[in-house]
């Protein structure tokens, strides 16, 4: 039932046949395949975001003993679509004295960076756009572009709240990227590979999940990743009570929507990486692999939402000292312990 | 019995230590301890005396105190012979009387216990002195009695004059002690021992003799001059009267001051071996005697009169010894101890009653204090040499000793005359006539019994102590206390009569002048103002010392200190300053020439640099530009 991987293979073969029939070389085959895959991923991402926005509202409401959106669709299921339509219709306001070029490109960069990650995320058995051999490293480096986007937005808006938001975001992301990367390095030490596909395939059985061998690493990753995507309690860059709306203050309409999308995508990405690295990826019994992936990932997203309504926001100095004085040493300890473990249990 | 005689000084020593360390807060206990200790010593001394009386052999007991081989071998020990026994009796008797007497005299003094401790210290030292069998131990004790004297003279040290007097006494006697030390050093150098026996043996065998011995003897006599207040070191004794009167009686009349006499007597062998030294002794003795007696004629302080009397009598003894009159000197020493201490204690009783020392403020006290007056009179008769009191017998011996030296005989009699005169002048002015200070007279009263009983006891001794010197007495004084061998001087009736006559005439003159007022002493004084003032001012000795010795010494000390600070230290600091200056010069030279050369090079470089420094824009971009431009140009020029 719902063997998506076979469908993908079918589509791929079809494209190859069509392109070859048009008299073009294998390069073009690959190109077209990639473009199609990218489109599919974009559509998928948009759907995911639509779902996540709704879900977030519902979850938040439940946490607050409310109902959340209820009117549009069953239990407000298509509320998000309505909101999106509203956003698309809105006038694109470009405030005076903004740095126009950068102001324009900032949401694009952010969005593209968020999307580009999905190139190497294994959604299911055979459902991966390109299983890059530097997979996880690729993801780490591409996510940094998100920050560039935020900084650009903060700078170009010519607004001090925006600037401060950008600043905080950049500082936060750069700081938390270090422990996160180190936590991932610990896993990579075990996997001996950077490829996402291989990492998943190494965790075929429940007891092979790396969470069992990297509990500390997982905790570090979880905390750092939460900070990476600016989620509460690390939502300082867009702390509405302090900075209006942070770097997005001056954005509206479609551009705002792109930031919004990027943010939710990032959340999904974080959960997806956690699933891949620690929880066996798409591996699981009975259900098709992509469903296992979605279940695990959405569970991860739920945890992030749970955090949001559980922990209060940190102060900015606490934030930095937490990263540098606590998480970072912990990550180093984790690496040392991992190394020791590898040395002790070496074949 | 005799071998434990060293215990005699130990008792007072113990009492001193106990009082100092333990009982000084309890005055009754302190006094009781001290008196008990001296009583034991007193009894022991009498026991020893009787032993020696029967067996006048010299007994010695000694042990090695320090033995460093031939260069220093000092055994110390005790020696008991007649002289020692006699001295023991004198010292313990007077000490006991004085200590009892002091119970009354010092009653109420805040430092009562300390007083008794010092008295015990003195007693111990004095007993050690007389028991010593060698010069070294004697010197040790000699210094200790000096210390005790110092402490007791300055006992009331709040009074400036008392502390001055103590210091004066100590330093003056110490000056004499220098002679003593040098004498000891010479003797030891000469014969390698300091025991009496050894030294005398050496003198007799001639191992020690000639000019060396004479010098040593004169130096040795220096100690006696200091201690026994002979000219020219007699100046401390009158001042020593600042101490409590019982102390004067004990130390400065009866015992310590006769230590010098004892020294000469003890070492008479040495002096006999050195004729010149002996004559020096005799001359100093008679001069002292004459001078002190003449001063005594005019003094108005009751204690000073007695003090000069003491000096005079000591001179007597010294002279007698110098002339070889061993028996005379020592016999007079004994009798003098008794009657002079009686005189002092009597004077103390008077002072206790009227609270003044000045006889011009006394008079008529006989009616108020009969015991004191009568005992004082007995003592005065004794010192004047009136038959049959003790003084008669001993003075007669002295006069007899001068036979063969007519000058000495005449002077001796002159002194006897003066002695009788001033003693009775003192007596008449104090006890008879009309009270010159009514107020003081009103308050005068007889002293308590603890003070009068010692007076009576001593009065008895003053009367009878001379009788052991009766020439016809078998085992009399001279058969026990003798030099070389017992000698029995023939009793010179003629001389005795003359001296008695002289004494009586002196008394008579005093009677006329101060009792009957037939002759006005003031008129005599005013008729010879020069002589009178000279005598009143004690021949200006103190002033002379002040001007000739003390002041110049101070000035010299200041001078040396200046020399030290400015010349010697100046040299040191000068060396330092020179070092600093030299360093400065070197720095200057360094800066001028060496640095000059270096700086010259520097200037050259700098001048060159100044011209090309404009290449140094400070802008890194310029530098980078030059680097790359150079790269290109060099490549082109390659």
């Amino acid at each position: 039932m719902l063997e998506l991987d076979k469908l993908v293979k079918l589509v791929g073969d079809g494209i190859e046949a069509v392109v070859t029939a048009l008299g073009l070389g294998p390069t073009w085959v690959t190109l077209v395949q990639l473009i199609v895959a990218a489109l599919v991923v974009v559509v998928f991402a948009a759907l995911v975001v639509l779902f996540l926005v709704w879900w977030e509202r519902k979850v938040s409401a439940r946490f607050q003993m409310r109902l959340g959106p209820m009117r549009v669709g069953w239990h407000g299921t298509i509320q998000t679509i309505a909101d999106a339509l509203k956003l698309l219709q809105k006038e694109l306001i470009t405030p005076a004295n903004v740095d126009r070029g950068i102001y324009f490109w900032a949401p694009v960069v952010t969005f593209v960076a968020a999307m580009a990650v999905y190139v190497t995320v294994p959604f299911g058995k055979g459902l991966i756009v390109r299983d890059l051999n530097i997979g996880i490293l690729y993801i780490l480096s591409i996510t940094t572009f998100t920050v560039i986007g935020l900084l650009m937005a903060g700078w170009s808006s010519n607004n001090k709240y925006a600037l401060l938001g950008g600043f905080r975001s950049a500082a936060q992301v750069v700081s938390y990227e270090v422990p996160m990367a180190l936590a991932i390095v610990a896993v990579v030490m075990l996997t001996q590979t950077l490829s996402m596909g291989e990492i998943v395939s190494q965790q075929a059985k429940f007891y092979q999940w790396y969470i069992w061998r990297q509990p500390l690493g997982f905790l570090i990753y979880l905390v750092a990743a939460t900070a990476e995507c600016n989620r509460t309690p690390f939502d300082l860059p867009e702390a509405d009570s302090e900075l209006v709306a942070g770097f997005v203050t001056e954005y509206s309409g479609m551009k705002f929507a792109m930031f919004f999308l990027a943010e939710f995508l990032n959340m999904f990405t974080v959960a997806a990486i956690a699933t891949t690295l620690f929880f066996g990826g798409w591996n699981g019994p009975f259900l098709p692999s992509w469903m296992w992936f979605l279940i695990k990932t959405l569970a991860g997203v739920f945890v992030l939402m749970w955090f949001r309504w559980t922990y209060p926001r940190l102060r900015v100095d606490q934030l930095m000292s937490f990263a540098w004085k606590f998480l970072l040493p912990l990550a180093f300890i984790n690496i040392v312990l991992t190394g020791l473990g590898i040395y002790i249990f070496r074949p | 019995m005799l071998s434990y005689a060293w215990l005699i000084p130990v008792f007072p020593l113990c009492s001193m230590a106990v009082i100092m360390l333990l009982t000084h807060r309890n005055r009754v206990l302190s006094a009781a301890l001290s008196i008990t200790a001296v009583s034991i010593s007193f009894l022991y001394a009498w026991a020893i005396a009787f032993t020696v009386w029967g067996n006048p052999e010299v007994q010695r007991f000694s042990f090695d105190w320090l033995n460093l081989g031939p260069s220093m071998h000092i055994p110390i020990g005790i020696q008991i012979d007649g002289l020692t026994a006699m001295m023991l009796i004198v010292v313990t008797t007077v000490a006991l009387m004085v200590q009892i007497y002091s119970l009354g005299y010092m009653h109420g003094d805040p430092r009562f216990s300390r007083y008794y401790a010092f008295l015990s210290l003195f007693t111990m030292a004095m007993l050690t002195l007389v028991l010593a069998d060698n010069f070294f131990l004697m010197f040790v004790a000699w210094e200790l009695v000096g210390l005790a004297s110092y402490l007791l003279i300055g006992f009331w040290f709040e009074k400036q004059s008392a502390s001055d007097a103590g210091k004066k006494a100590f330093i003056t006697t110490r000056l004499g002690d220098l002679g003593f030390i040098i004498g000891l050093l010479m003797i030891y150098t000469g014969c390698g021992t300091l025991t009496f026996g050894g030294v005398f043996e050496a003198v007799k065998t001639g191992a020690l003799g000639g000019a060396f011995l004479t010098t040593a003897a004169i130096f040795l006599f220096g100690g006696a001059i200091g201690k026994s207040a002979q000219v020219p070191l007699h100046v401390w004794l009158p001042d020593a009267m600042e101490g409590p009167t019982p102390v004067s009686a004990l130390i400065h009349a009866a015992t310590m001051v006769v230590a010098g006499v004892y020294l000469v007597a003890r070492s008479l062998t040495i002096f006999m071996g050195a004729e010149t030294a002996a004559m020096t002794v005799a001359w100093i003795g008679i001069i002292t005697s004459l001078m002190a007696a003449s001063i005594g004629l005019v003094q108005n302080d009751i204690k000073r009169v007695l003090a000069f009397s003491t000096v005079s009598q000591l001179g007597y003894m010294i002279m007698a010894l110098g002339l070889g009159g061993f028996t005379a000197g020592t016999f007079h020493l004994m009798t003098h101890a008794f009657f002079k201490s009686l005189l002092f204690l009597g004077a103390g009783s008077v002072i206790h009653a009227v609270h003044t020392n000045d006889i011009r403020e006394m008079g008529g006290l006989h009616s108020k204090m009969k015991t004191t007056s009568i005992t004082f009179l007995i003592a005065a008769f004794a010192i004047a040499g009136i038959f049959p009191l003790s003084g008669f017998w001993s003075k007669d011996e002295i006069v007899a000793a001068t036979l063969g030296h007519p000058v000495f005989t005449v002077l001796t009699l002159l002194v006897a005359f003066m002695t009788a005169f001033y003693m009775f002048r003192l007596y008449f002015l104090t006890f008879t006539g009309t009270p010159r200070d009514k107020h003081k007279f009103e308050h005068a009263h007889e002293s308590p019994k603890v003070m009068t009983y010692p007076l009576i006891f001593l009065a008895v001794l003053s009367v009878v102590s001379g009788w052991i010197g009766l020439p016809w007495l078998h085992h009399g004084f001279s058969s026990v206390v003798f030099h070389e061998e017992p000698h029995h001087a023939e009793f010179h009736y003629g001389l005795a009569a003359i001296s008695l006559l002289v004494g009586l005439s002196g008394i008579g003159l005093a009677y006329l002048m101060y009792y009957k007022r037939r002759i006005d002493p003031d008129r005599i004084a005013t008729s010879m103002p020069g002589l009178y003032n000279t005598l009143l001012n004690k021949y200006y000795f103190d002033e002379a010392y002040e001007v000739l010795v003390i002041k110049p010494y101070y000035v010299m000390c200041q001078g040396w200190f200046w020399f030290d600070q400015h010349i010697i230290d100046g040299l040191v600091n000068g060396a330092g300053a020179f070092g600093v200056l030299w360093g400065r010069f070197q720095r200057w030279a360094d800066e001028t020439f060496v640095d000059g050369a270096v700086n010259g090079i520097g200037w050259l470089t700098r001048g060159f640099g100044a011209t090309i420094r404009y290449l140094q824009t400070g802008s890194l971009q310029n530098y980078a530009f030059i680097v790359f431009a150079a790269l290109v140009i060099l490549w082109i020029l390659r």
Binding site: - | Q616, Q621, F625, F628
Partner: protein, 104 residues
């Protein structure tokens, strides 16, 4: 036209390097200068990696050196920017022309 070879990469590297040199020589802003220097670094890295690809493909020494270069460049940037901040705090400006206290 034959395929892209070593020379192409080296030429690209040279061009980028010279652009960096130009920037370094002319920018007044200290950060600008730094950026130009980063360009130069990257040009050099291209060279290194290109050599690694074409001259010593088996041992890829060039890549190793490039890694070192990147690390050193990062360190350099860190310190340099710290200095820039310090200079800014001292002089309220980071104009390289005016930072000439090493002038004669």
């Amino acid at each position: 036209m034959e395929g892209i070879g070593l020379t192409h990469y080296l030429t690209l590297s040279a061009v980028v390097f010279c652009i960096g040199v130009f920037g370094m020589l002319t920018r007044r802003n200290a950060v600008g200068v730094l950026m130009s220097i980063e360009l130069m670094f990257n040009a050099v890295n291209i060279t290194l990696v290109a050599f690694a690809r074409y001259v010593t493909p088996a041992t890829i020494t060039g890549q190793v050196v490039a890694i070192f270069t990147i690390a050193v460049a990062a360190a350099e940037a860190t310190v340099a920017l710290a200095i820039v901040l310090l200079i800014y705090q001292h002089h309220r400006g980071i104009d390289v022309d005016r930072i000439n206290f090493m002038k004669w």
